[in-house]
């Protein structure tokens, strides 16, 4: 059995806007090992969500995969028809979206919505759907599932809605859960509950989680492996301990540096832009990209992920760029 449940290789996703074409994800490669939580971290617009939507073939109307490969459990998903993909969605790969308020139909009772996945995949007989929904509600921490079953989303708090979404994602017992910033719209106390639920599911069913986030605090607590994304590129990847102990790319350092740390005695919290990318090098190589400006001609100058220490990869410009930039 392949040790990786998900393998993305050199994925390139673009968006068409009239006659122009914009690259959103540029040759991204990542792997999710069975039973692991892999974090994909980066600021808004870095291409994290688009990468995850590509896995489920749910890109927006004007988005398309230009090249690359997405293998799930050894199967190449990019060659799958829509019908074949429907069997995968919800059943083998589930997604938890970031906006719990918008991700539930306001006109439908949550109990009905929870079992929608089970209904599509005919996993249990229709008469048993209600009891399954009650069980799922209990599983995600509701003390009074029978009452919640009949509630409409607007009658629930943000945290409760997010738990409903988790119950929906877990309903078909998928092998991989893609959690797209599942705690963004929640307050800190609820964030932990939600992430613990996802983690518990992973442990109980030996499932895998692709956790998309921009919060390094969350990464530190729950992830086993980290991919850092900037402007559609993976700029650094390593296991979570290495990333925190020895971050190399200035952008990774910027993200870690933006975590509030009261004991550091900093007067002002640093923003990402406070960490310059320009003129920073390592062992004679320039980190790529060396600008936050995606429009800059240097942003997409050929670059590669280099293994700087065992299983620690950092993006540097290829030879020519190194010569012109430094030389």
């Amino acid at each position: 059995m392949n040790q990786h449940i998900l393998e993305i290789e050199k994925l390139k996703v673009s968006f068409k806007k009239k006659s122009e074409q914009h690259i959103a994800v540029n040759e991204v490669s990542l792997q999710v090992e069975r039973g692991q939580t892999v974090a994909l971290i980066g600021e808004s617009g870095s291409g994290k969500s688009i990468t995850s939507l590509s896995v489920l073939n749910l890109l927006p109307v004007n988005g398309f995969v230009e090249s690359g490969s997405i293998r799930f459990d050894g199967k190449e998903l990019l060659t799958y028809s829509d019908k074949e993909m429907r069997k995968i969605r919800g059943n083998e790969i589930s997604m938890i979206f970031q906006d719990a308020i918008a991700s539930l139909n306001p006109g439908m009772k949550v109990g009905i919505q929870i079992t929608e996945g089970l209904r599509y995949h005919n996993l249990i007989p229709k008469p048993d759907l209600k009891s399954e929904a009650l069980q799922l509600l209990e599983q995600v921490g509701f003390n009074n599932p029978a009452h919640v079953y009949h509630q409409y989303p607007e009658q629930l708090s943000g945290g409760m809605k997010q738990r409903i979404l988790i119950a929906m994602a877990m309903s078909c017992k998928p092998k991989l859960i893609i959690a797209d910033e599942p705690t963004t719209s929640l307050d800190v106390t609820i964030q932990r509950q939600v992430l613990d639920l996802i983690d518990q599911y992973k442990t109980d069913l030996s499932a895998s989680v692709l956790l998309i986030t921009h919060d390094f605090g969350v990464v530190a607590e729950y992830a086993d492996w980290v991919y850092v994304m900037l402007g559609g590129h993976i700029v650094e990847s390593a296991d979570v301990y290495t990333i925190f102990k020895n971050p190399m790319h200035p952008y990774t350092k910027a993200l870690i540096g933006s975590i509030p740390n009261p004991s550091s005695g900093q007067e002002r919290l640093k923003s990402i832009q406070d960490y310059p990318l320009e003129s920073v090098s390592n062992d004679g190589r320039r980190f790529a990209p060396d600008t936050y400006t995606k429009e800059s001609s240097f942003f997409d100058t050929p670059s590669s992920l280099i293994e700087v220490e065992p299983l620690h990869y950092v993006r540097f410009y290829d030879e020519e760029r190194k010569v012109t930039a430094i030389g």
């Binding site: 969605r89 979206f97 139909n105 599509y120």
Partner: protein, 312 residues
């Protein structure tokens, strides 16, 4: 939502008016205790007790209360009552198929941007729908004169013309709305769970669109009523017409009598007598106006109902 609508006085008044009109239209002979054929028969002259002629067609509302007669001598009151069902059913059918087909066409390929159609719709906005309908209808009537077709076939083709000319602007409206609904997060979530498109359309998109559909349906009914009134003025009869020779033996003139009893036919038939018998045109036109008013009340009621739901 239905409970909210029932609480809206405008909706209730408008709805009850349309419902009462339909009821009266179907049951007027029993309600007024009259014979339908007798009440709708042609009457060229009015006689006194001695059998002497006291007047000739058309009779004014003071001569034959309450609405007088049309140019063929048929009582307008009964014609209006009897024609209401045909007018409303034709209007309802045309509006329904316009909405239904537009939604279906849009849902077949919701990702299409219909830019060509949008350009076409905006370019043809200056051409009144009545003119378009008139051009198609006259061609059809000419064909019908040369090669007569059955009443049902003629009504179906006329209905298709009325439906067809209303579809392009509706597709243009729906494509934008459906696209924005399909971009809602909960729709994406449903697809991410493995739902099929028909399920998503039936379970999520149509309920989301329902209020808009009711409003557009009522608006379409109004547009069709206006179109029918205009076509009546232009002497286009839905269901075709039968030519009768009317007048005295020295001055027989051919007259087109509509076969279906809807209101626009009454207008078209009497339009040449606008100066001498204005009631024969103004009364059916007023009926169109009152029905449109009732439909506007329904629209207002729906809009208020939606606003109240949003406030909650």
């Amino acid at each position: 939502m239905i409970l909210k609508l029932v609480k809206q006085p405008q909706f209730v008044i408008g709805f009850l008016f349309i419902l009462s009109l339909l009821f009266l239209s179907f049951y007027w002979p029993s309600l007024f205790n009259v014979n339908k054929a007798e009440s709708l028969k042609l009457m060229e002259f009015m006689y006194d007790e001695n059998g002497a002629i006291t007047g000739s067609i058309p009779f004014s509302p003071s001569e034959v209360p309450p609405f007088g007669t049309d140019v063929t001598g048929r009582q307008l009151f009964y014609q209006i009552l009897d024609g209401a069902k045909y007018t409303l059913i034709i209007t309802f059918g045309v509006a329904f198929f316009r909405i239904f087909l537009s939604v279906v066409i849009t849902l077949i390929n919701p990702k299409a941007n219909y830019s060509f159609l949008n350009d076409l719709v905006s370019a043809t906005l200056t051409i009144p729908t009545t003119i378009l309908a008139y051009i198609f209808m006259t061609s059809l009537m000419m064909k019908n004169t040369i090669e007569p077709m059955g009443l049902t076939k003629l009504i179906i083709i006329q209905g298709l013309i009325l439906v067809g000319i209303g579809i392009p602007p509706l597709i243009s409206t729906f494509s934008g709305e459906i696209k924005s609904i399909l971009n809602l997060d909960y729709i994406k979530n449903t697809f991410a769970l493995g739902a099929k498109k028909p399920y998503v359309y039936y379970r999520h998109v149509l309920p989301e669109l329902s209020t808009r559909l009711i409003l557009l349906f009522a608006q379409q009914m109004i547009q069709v009523l206006i179109l029918l009134a205009h076509l009546g003025v232009l002497s286009i009869f839905i269901g075709g017409a039968q030519t009768l020779m009317l007048g005295d033996i020295f001055n027989l003139t051919p007259k087109d009598i509509p076969l279906a009893g809807e209101w626009s036919g009454i207008i078209g038939m009497s339009f040449t007598k606008l100066q001498t018998a204005p009631w024969a045109i103004l009364i059916p036109l007023s009926c169109f106006a009152v029905t449109i008013f009732a439909l506007n009340l329904i629209i207002q009621g729906v809009q208020h109902g939606v606003e109240e739901t949003r406030k909650l």
